[in-house]
Symmetry: C2
Subunit: 359 residues, 2 copies
């Protein structure tokens, strides 16, 4: 499966392709648009150029570089970052934990892909250390908040879709054209401080609880490489409004969460309820534009069984059922020094280790 | 009051200064950092260079251009856009309208500057036509949503603070250093589709109801030019946590809202409860970085009296008390063809006219 990233050598960055057996320096073989510090100029060229490039990469006879020896950079420059909430099981689990006794899903959830804007400036490349964030939280039973290190630091296993072709202001992208704008997919860990989030989020949504770091993988896999992973998905009920109506489908990409060397969850992106095409059609339906580098994340991907959940808060059921790790340790949330690796078949991995808070 | 913007002539953009009597082309007089399509390179240089530039601008003897004859562009390239909710009267009014019978403010409101991320890609320059957004809304009393043009299109009168000097990941900016990072202020209209917002916002906050357009003025006024507008503000109660604790203050900038030629509200930014310094300290307290071009908006600015409110939903009290315009017309929300001009003393104006929906 071909994927694109950015490598740095001798003070200069350029676009590279990950192919079977190694990595190809594209600036050396394919020309100027690849002599860039991000894949954005390449992504902006559109689907015909993408397909042409994939074909040339397959034929390229350049020297194969060892991925382990390379200094890899953030593969794309992030324009706007939108985080959706498109996994039915994840949304249901969160509703059950936070609003026990009520209907777990808000009435809008099955009518539109719920989402919000995240912080583009703190999207960081795989391997960037994650410093435990400080912030305000209100401890259980307390009247007043306190300021200090988050004590409920979590991960979120997600796919990030990366926009290549921009759109025009006030010109919605119809569902049937949505994928022409999307270049590819990257693995994504939306680190989350649940205690900060719980205190701050009313009424305007998550903010600093999710603004300290969002890690993405080194390689963006073009959508065209995932064609054979497209599978039919469960019916959407109620049937969406016409601008969101399509035959339900998803990418079936096997995913896993590793914590301190032990795999604690295995799932697949086929559990997503809303497709990337529906997300694009919805996002632009009100007239918002797409820009090259827009990052549209799926939201946490969880399946129906306990060990298919993509966040610790779900895996430990809000801390009530800690995860058991080999060697007798348990975890409800992340501790300092913990190392997390997310993996996606064909997508690669995204890594991060927790460093102590600095407040 | 000096202000900075970007003018375009002969296919090239460069930085300009608005001074008494006209506009100066700075690329001609002050050098390379001003031969740029945005003020970002200038803003990134930091407070010493800013002060030095203001002094040189005051002495500059270049030809004065007529502002009316110039093609002005978006003055800065927006990195992340954060919209705060820092006016006590606005937050209280919204709580009263949307949660009648409950405490109008959530318990976090007086403890931290509540905010959320907006869409940076749809920040547009003054004068850009605003096409009425389409989207999902649930009409009053209906069970199911419908898709169509927003019927509750509104304005929000705000100040936008523009970041010049970036900060480092996981390195909070203390309150006392916050203003060293902020270059200046721009007038801002955060157009809002209240019906879309009301249906979509739970549980992750506003999204498409505020993503179709955010208009900013042509000129960014450096904070140093507003020094003599700094006034003491009412005490903050309860006293904020130490990282947000300072002598309460605000900028006293007179503001007005004009709708179809009639001034419908007059207010001032001294009504803001949280200062820009507190917003910066809070935003970075969890380790989030600042980037050059970050736009930190105040949220709608409303005063205590009816005609000092900065949005139509407040002025018309959710449509129950329509605003009377000269000639006998009334408005609760915006109609197609309506023209809005926001003005701020020394800041200039920001204009927009509503075009019909395209769905």
């Amino acid at each position: 499966m071909i994927a694109y990233g950015v490598l740095r050598e001798g003070g200069r960055s350029r676009v590279a392709a990950r192919v079977e057996g190694g990595v190809l320096d594209l600036a050396a073989g394919l020309g100027d648009v690849f002599a860039a510090p991000s894949i954005n100029p390449f992504m902006a060229r559109g689907p015909d150029f993408w397909r042409e490039t994939h074909a040339r990469v397959r034929e390229l006879d350049g020297p194969l570089l060892e991925p382990e020896a390379l200094e890899l950079r953030l593969p794309f420059e992030v324009a706007d970052y939108v985080d959706f909430f498109s996994s039915l099981h994840h949304a249901t689990n969160m509703g059950r934990m936070f609003r026990p006794g009520s209907e777990p899903l808000f009435p809008n959830w099955r009518q539109l892909p719920v989402g919000y804007h995240g912080r583009a400036g703190t999207v960081v490349p795989s391997g960037t250390p994650v410093v435990r964030p400080c912030g305000q939280r209100r401890p259980p039973g307390a009247e007043e908040p306190t300021f200090g290190p988050s004590v409920r630091l979590d991960i979120e296993l997600e796919l990030g879709f990366v926009v290549g072709v921009p759109s025009e202001l006030a010109a919605p992208v119809p569902l049937g054209r949505a994928l022409d704008h999307v270049f590819g997919v990257v693995l994504l860990n939306d680190w989350s401080a649940r205690d900060l989030q719980a205190w701050e989020y009313q009424p305007l949504g998550p903010f600093l609880g999710k603004s300290f770091a969002t890690s993405v993988g080194d390689w963006v896999v073009p959508l065209t490489e995932l064609e054979d992973r497209r599978v039919p998905a469960a019916p959407q009920e109620p049937e969406p409004l016409p601008y969101l109506r399509e035959e339900p489908w998803a990418y079936d990409v096997p995913l896993e969460v590793e914590l301190n060397g032990a795999v604690v969850a295995r799932t697949t992106s086929r559990h997503l309820y809303w497709s990337i095409a529906q997300q694009v059609a919805h996002l632009t339906s009100g007239g918002a534009t797409l820009r090259t580098g827009d990052l549209l994340a799926s939201g946490t991907i969880s399946g129906p069984e306990r060990d298919t959940r993509g966040s610790l808060i779900e895996l430990s059921w809000n801390g009530e059922e800690p995860i058991e790790l080999p060697g007798g340790e348990t975890r409800s949330f992340l501790e300092d020094g913990d190392a997390v690796v997310l993996r996606g078949e064909g997508l690669g991995e995204v890594r991060g280790r927790i460093e102590p808070a600095r407040c």
